[in-house]
Symmetry: C2
Subunit: 411 residues, 2 copies
């Protein structure tokens, strides 16, 4: 399929506008609110946190996406305060935010989705939020810059914004898909991750949009981890406004396959950006489990490796301590034969290093291994030699800076 | 029951001797091998790691404890090298160690249990090990000092040795139970923990000894976590030589109950010592979940809280960031109503601080909370208000020093 990556974000698809604003929700002079808007009504799909403690905006969005057939026109996001652990008052403030956005945009309250991220516990600062919503509505633009500002405005401890866009052809029409996401702590998605917003001009039914999203999330956002903590606020939304003019996708045909592949690429790209920019991270760690007997096992093994604190700390120290990888596979819950398994390290421009073969460590140059591990992207390959399945998970190292950030997050 | 804590370790019970020695397995001039010996044959019980990758000594001990009816006379432990991920050669070296000990002690090879801890991967340095075994056999003593030296010799990154002993009465006879254990990284026991050795002079059948151990481990060693990594080497052994002269315990009678309670106290004491001395830890964190609908749920919730990296980092920073506790409960897998739940902090000499009540944060003095969190032992209480069950888990904070230790462990 001819899917081409382009420079862009949430305004790349036709008919979408965005804005970012420093509303002063928790800090002054820092972009902390974003809005995404579609002139035409959109169908929306979403995946949400599996955490029993769900933030108010998660409850709000889930109701609109899952329980109504209605269209969506806008998304409003704030950082600084997560609006989680805030009880009924938190839900009321979420509703009030949506009502204000509806009023400012001339839409219905139930056409506005909400996202929040930040400290769990405090109630929203509504003076800042309501003022922010009004200002954002007046600043909306379909420019590349507007999308970029919005992607900056949803950041918390992220060190850079995450955006991605692709274009492809469906039914003879050019379709565009663009998105933004934010990390970067409390990242261990289960259903989906933190905050991610994807917009597209494809014409697709709500049912097929949700199906495509549900199919790509388990292999992308759900395969990354920064710290093993599944957030209360994880939300990934896709809005499709149909402006590309293609014949509406209503079944699993070739057009659907093309769209799903494009959505897979965008979600994978954003997920990898999140893993590599985990709190305090100095490198992206990819674990590729190959030749496994079944795919679920491959996924469990890959995710266990990139979640292991000891493995992550060893990577921070550029220490080729492969025993910790083997150990993390061993306690993952997946069954396998440790006497029949190979482990390798790869990095761009380096010769592959084999560390383990069928039950015993292999001789390797510590110097070469350390040089390889100093790269910003390191790949661990675990060859199970038992079948045709594979899986990939992405994570980052565990660093002093992670402890710095999280020992003093609220202040 | 009249169970009294006494000063002592693995030589506290009648008929047990111990020794520690600097054998040079990996480092020079550092106590790194220990031996425990009973003049009389012992019945033995054990719990072992659930990690699929099991170290050679785990396979060796498990066979002897589970698959033979034979007695046990000695345990030999080395640190520095874990003899895990070492394949058939590793098993052969384990066997060779046991054979050497049997020769030196005049016992059978299958009466010798082995424990190893340290780096996963390399083969044992057998020159050092075999010399060490011979020296240890010549140094055995039933003195308090010998037990202490042995407890020092099984340490790796532990900052202090862990010992515990109690005495109580069964069938009119004084019975003693003493033990030692080591942590302090790769600690997230599942079945049992790292290395722990308990000796007792009680007369008890092998079956009842194993039953008592299996009953106390789920609430003690299996309720602590330092870093979420379940080791390849976790082993907890209990040896009983019958020297107390009581009528043999062969069923669940009052004598069994007294013994099980004493064993519970010793395992809990050692487990708490391990949690508080986790790698890099500055404090012991106890999470007490009370008034839960069922006990399994209470255990899952308590363990999820003390395993959360974000919660652990906040405690390091003395930051009363209770939202992370609520979040960790939420992703634990246990179902509960976050709108009906209270969270408190306690520490010795401090007034209790309530942080959360029925869906919303409670006002509290940040100054008082920080002062409380600076204590070396902090208790989190989560009141579920839904039933009669409770559970306790123990962990430690996540610190810069944890990263220091684990970014550079092998060298």
């Amino acid at each position: 399929m001819n899917i081409r990556t382009i420079d862009g974000g949430v305004t790349a698809a036709k008919g979408f506008k965005a804005a970012g604003y420093a509303a002063g929700v928790k800090y002054e002079n820092r972009l902390d609110m974003a809005m995404v808007y579609s002139e035409k009504p959109c169908v929306a799909a979403g995946t949400f946190t599996s955490n029993v403690v769900k933030a108010a905006p998660v409850l709000w969005d889930r109701r609109i996406v899952r329980e109504t057939d209605g269209s969506v026109r806008a998304v409003v996001v704030n950082t600084g305060i997560a609006n989680a652990g805030t009880g009924e008052e938190g839900l009321r403030l979420c509703e009030e935010t949506a009502a204000k956005a509806a009023e400012s945009l001339g839409t219905d309250r139930d056409e506005v989705l909400i996202g929040s991220t930040g400290v769990i516990g405090p109630q929203l600062n509504m003076t800042a939020i309501l003022n922010g919503v009004e200002r954002l509505a007046g600043m909306l633009s379909d420019s590349r810059e507007a999308a970029h500002t919005a992607s900056q405005a949803i950041m918390t401890t992220d060190t850079h914004p995450k955006e991605c866009a692709v274009t492809f052809t469906v039914d003879g029409k050019t379709v565009t898909l663009g998105g933004m996401a934010k990390g970067s702590g409390m990242i261990h998605p289960n259903m989906c991750t933190m905050l991610g917003y994807i917009t597209t001009d494809i014409k697709i039914s709500k049912k097929m949009l949700q199906q495509a999203l549900s199919q790509v999330v388990p292999d992308t956002f759900n395969m990354i981890s920064v710290d093993g903590d599944t957030s209360t606020n994880d939300t990934l939304l896709v809005l499709a406004n149909g402006e590309a003019g293609n014949k509406e996708i209503v079944s699993e045909d070739a057009d659907y396959d093309a769209f799903r592949e494009a959505l897979f690429q965008v979600t994978r790209d954003l997920a990898i950006q999140l893993a590599g920019d985990g709190e305090g991270a100095t490198k992206l760690i990819t674990c590729h489990v190959v030749n496994a007997a079944d795919r679920d096992k491959a996924k469990i093994l890959a995710k266990s490796v990139i979640t292991s604190n000891l493995t992550k700390a060893a990577f921070y120290g550029n220490d080729a301590n492969w025993g910790r990888i083997l150990c993390a596979m061993g306690y993952s819950g997946a069954q396998f034969d440790p006497e029949r398994l190979d482990i390798f390290f790869d990095a761009e421009g380096c010769s592959r290093i084999q560390l383990y073969h069928d039950g015993s460590g292999q001789p390797f140059s510590e110097e070469e291994a350390t040089a390889l591990l100093k790269h910003e992207e390191v790949v661990i390959t675990c060859d199970m030699k038992e079948g045709p399945e594979e899986a990939t998970a992405w994570g980052c190292d565990l660093t002093h800076e992670y402890v710095n950030i999280n020992a003093d997050y609220r202040s």
